[in-house]
Every structure is written in structure tokens, then in C-alpha cells.
């Protein structure tokens, strides 16, 4: 049964050199209040795992703008000028990963796999330094799991067992990241009693969830 904590308490778990997964797809599905709390705590030298670095002033981009991120594994930085500027200045180490490969590497970590073979990236700079395999005339590269110490997840609803459901395209990388971190912290709009979620419709079972943080309702 996950413990309910505050965003500040969640942010305080993160230490320099923590590996943290941030679910977000251009801010949709981002745990924005956890991110804000982490900006507030101003912990430095974080390793970030995310699909995209969002915008300079929104989503996980805030952490980059605030120079809290030492390195990032992601698939897209085109919407965030800070990422590219810090990368060019040698302040931020960026590993760009095809999005499907990124997701499978995260899933592999959560699912206890030692790696996966994907055809994506064959014949490109993505294959550099990686083991290659050919089966039935098709080439694959070996990609390794991406694990994390923490995942900052956003869900629409959680029951008190930590079972989660998401809302529309805000689901994105949340379910995979929830599986892949040692400690999964979920920012959630609504916490309901056990029995209020239909067991058929649970997307992330509570076994993957360690902490819940209730979103504060903000003025729009």
C-alpha cells in the first residue's frame, strides 16, 4: 500500500546523481507539481530519463533551464532551446534515443529483461558501438535496459492500493516508467477508496507504486 506524501517530501528524496524518470510528452502526462517541487529544492546533477525535454519554461524543461540536470536520455529536444544550448556548451550530456527504443529499454528494465534487439537505428549513428545481429536477412541492434532510482509519474486516479488509471494521451510513458524505477512516485488528481476502480480497467497495478502525491488544485 503506497504512502501518501507531499510534493516537497517527494522532491527531497532525490539526491545529486539520482537517476530519475520523468513521464511527459510535451508536458502532457507530466507530474508538474513534483517537477516544481524539485525545482524548489534545487537538487543538482540529476540524471534525467524522459521522452522529450519539453519547453524552456514548462514541464521537465524547467529543471534543465535551472541547470539541475547533468545528463539526459531522451528522444527529442527540439522544443527546448536550453537543452541544445547547454549541450553545445558541454554542460549537459545528451543521449538521443529513438522513441520506440527508449520505451522498450525502459520496459526491459521493469520486466527484468537484459536487453532487446531492435531494427530501429540500423544503418544510422544510433548503431555505433552496439552489438549487431542478423536473422533471416534482417539486421538488429542490441539495446540495453534503462533503469532508474525514481520515477515521477502522473495519473488521473489512484486507489489507495496504488492502482492507477490515466487520462487520454496523458498515459504515454507513465505505465512503462512506473515499472522501471526502484521508487515510483505518482502525482495524482484524485485518490479514491479501494474498490472504486474497476479491476478490468486498471492500467498500472499498485505493485509498481510506492508513493502517492495528491495534486493541489490550481487556479486556472
Amino acid at each position: 500500500m503506497p504512502k501518501t506524501i507531499t510534493a516537497k517530501e517527494a522532491a527531497q528524496m532525490i539526491k545529486p546523481h539520482s537517476r530519475v524518470m520523468f513521464s511527459t510528452f510535451l508536458v502532457v502526462g507530466a507530474a508538474e507539481q513534483l517537477i516544481d517541487a524539485l525545482v524548489e529544492e534545487n537538487v543538482k546533477d540529476i540524471h534525467m530519463i524522459t521522452i522529450a525535454t519539453d519547453y524552456d519554461d514548462k514541464g521537465v524543461g524547467k529543471l534543465i533551464t535551472n541547470k539541475q540536470i547533468k545528463s539526459v536520455q531522451c528522444s527529442h529536444i527540439g522544443t527546448n532551446r536550453s537543452t541544445q544550448a547547454q549541450m553545445n556548451a558541454g554542460e549537459l550530456d545528451v543521449e538521443l534515443i529513438p522513441q520506440g527504443t527508449l520505451m522498450e529499454r525502459i520496459r526491459a528494465a521493469g520486466a527484468g529483461l537484459g536487453g532487446i534487439l531492435t531494427p530501429t537505428g540500423v544503418g544510422t549513428i544510433v548503431e555505433e558501438g552496439k552489438q549487431k545481429f542478423t536473422f533471416d536477412g534482417k539486421d538488429y541492434i542490441l539495446e540495453m535496459p534503462i533503469k532508474a532510482d525514481f520515477a515521477f509519474i502522473k495519473a488521473q486516479k489512484a486507489d489507495k492500493h496504488g492502482n492507477l488509471v490515466y487520462y487520454k494521451t496523458a498515459r504515454n510513458s507513465n505505465p512503462a516508467m512506473a515499472m522501471a524505477a526502484k521508487i515510483t512516485i505518482v502525482e495524482v488528481d484524485e485518490i479514491v477508496e479501494v474498490g472504486q476502480l474497476d479491476p478490468e480497467n486498471v492500467v498500472t497495478p499498485g505493485i509498481f507504486v510506492n508513493y502517492l502525491v495528491k495534486s493541489e488544485v490550481k487556479e486556472c
Binding site: 510535451l26 521522452i51 528522444s75 522513441q99 520496459r107 531494427p119 544510422t124 498515459r171
Partner: protein, 222 residues
């Protein structure tokens, strides 16, 4: 000459003719989205967005946007009847697993072997590949939608791509404001030219070697 908008419409309309009833389609950001405006009558297609949805509908009316309902380009979308949501793993399983019938993407460069470069210009612009590498690797029919030449008038269709590749040998078809070309085992086949140009001008505007068949079709003159 056609203006930017006319070119975009002509290209989008031509690509839409490639759609078959029941196809599952992923459209890239920008010019490719134009395809959705020209679905032929009697053809029903289902749009996929890689952030996790099948059954993407058109943009919402102003004021009816749902901030958690976006496509891969962060544009607001709507939900059609029979839609489904799923997580990014399943979304890319769909893509990489060969379940999509068509993807339409833009390009910085394409070459006559079907190699594609559309994700970075070293030292200048490194947005990242996002889902593009998976899309062109996994999808059955990869169509490139772009202007034939860049803003300096240089051909974007080369003998050999010089920019870092998105994937090798992945492109099936290229549709530009000047021509429809298909990547074949023998090379790049000029299938059609736009109504406003001629074969010689297309050859001149193209760095790649073009195979010119006996009969070249015309498109865009609707």
C-alpha cells in the same frame, strides 16, 4: 508558379490517393498533416499518433481543446468513435511491429536508394529523432512529403544522403511539388510530374538519377 499553400495542398491530395480503405496511417508534423484533408470518398482510414492513440480526429473547435489530448506535434486533436488509447510501449509496438499501413513524413534529404535524413543537421540543428526512426523502420509504406528543393533551390533528392540517416533503404515513395517518385530495386522511378512542369525541368531540379519510363503521368491538375 504555385505558392506554398497550393504546393502543400497538391502534395497532400496526391498522397491521399495512395490510401486504401481501412488503412492505419501515421502522419508526421507539418506538411504531412495535409493528407488528412483529402481522404478520397468511400475510403475510411484510421489515424495513429505515436504518443498513444488510434482514431485521431480533426483539430477541435477553438475553446473545445482538451489539454491532455494532443498528437505527436503537440497539436490539439479530437477523439473519433472507435478510438483507443494506449501507452507508448504499445504505440511503438504497433509502429515497429509493422502494423501501420502508411506513414507520411517530411525530409531534409532523401536519396535514390531510399535512404532518409530528417532528424539532424550536425553543428546546426539537433532536435532528435523522436519517433521517426521507428516509424520509417516499421511501417509498410513510407511516403515522403516535401518540396522538391530547399530554400536555396538545391535538390533535396540526392544520389546519396550527406546528413546523418534516419534509416537506410526505408522510403517507398516521394511526393513533391514537382514529381511523384517511387524507390525501386533499379533506382528512383519518375512516375508522375506536376501539371505545371515538364520532365526536363524535373530532371534538372533533381540531383538523384531518375529512371524515366516511357509514359510519365501528370498530377495536380484537378
Amino acid at each position: 508558379m504555385l505558392d506554398k499553400k497550393q504546393k502543400r495542398i497538391m502534395i497532400g491530395r496526391r498522397i491521399a490517393e495512395e490510401l486504401n480503405d481501412g488503412d492505419f496511417v501515421n502522419l508526421g508534423i507539418g506538411m504531412p498533416t495535409e493528407v488528412a484533408n483529402h481522404i478520397p470518398l468511400g475510403v475510411k482510414v484510421y489515424f495513429h499518433t505515436e504518443n498513444g492513440m488510434l482514431g485521431v480526429g480533426p483539430a477541435p473547435k477553438p475553446g473545445e481543446e482538451d489539454k491532455d489530448l494532443i498528437n505527436a506535434g503537440a497539436g490539439y486533436i479530437t477523439e473519433t468513435a472507435g478510438a483507443s488509447y494506449f501507452d507508448s510501449c504499445l504505440s511503438f509496438a504497433i509502429i515497429r511491429g509493422g502494423h501501420l499501413d502508411m506513414t507520411v513524413l517530411g525530409a531534409l534529404q532523401v536519396d535514390q536508394e531510399g535512404n532518409l535524413a530528417n532528424w539532424m543537421i550536425p553543428g546546426k540543428l539537433v532536435p532528435g529523432m523522436g519517433g521517426a526512426m521507428d516509424l520509417v523502420t516499421g511501417t509498410k509504406n513510407v511516403i515522403i512529403s516535401m518540396e522538391h528543393c530547399d530554400k536555396h533551390g538545391n535538390s533535396k533528392i540526392l544520389k546519396k544522403c550527406t546528413l546523418p540517416l534516419t534509416a537506410a533503404h526505408c522510403v517507398n515513395m516521394i511526393v513533391t511539388d514537382m514529381a511523384v517518385m517511387r524507390v525501386t530495386e533499379k533506382g528512383l522511378l519518375l512516375e508522375e510530374i506536376a501539371f505545371w512542369t515538364n520532365v526536363d525541368d524535373v530532371i534538372k531540379a533533381t540531383d538523384a538519377d531518375l529512371i524515366i519510363p516511357e509514359k510519365v503521368g501528370i498530377f495536380g491538375n484537378q
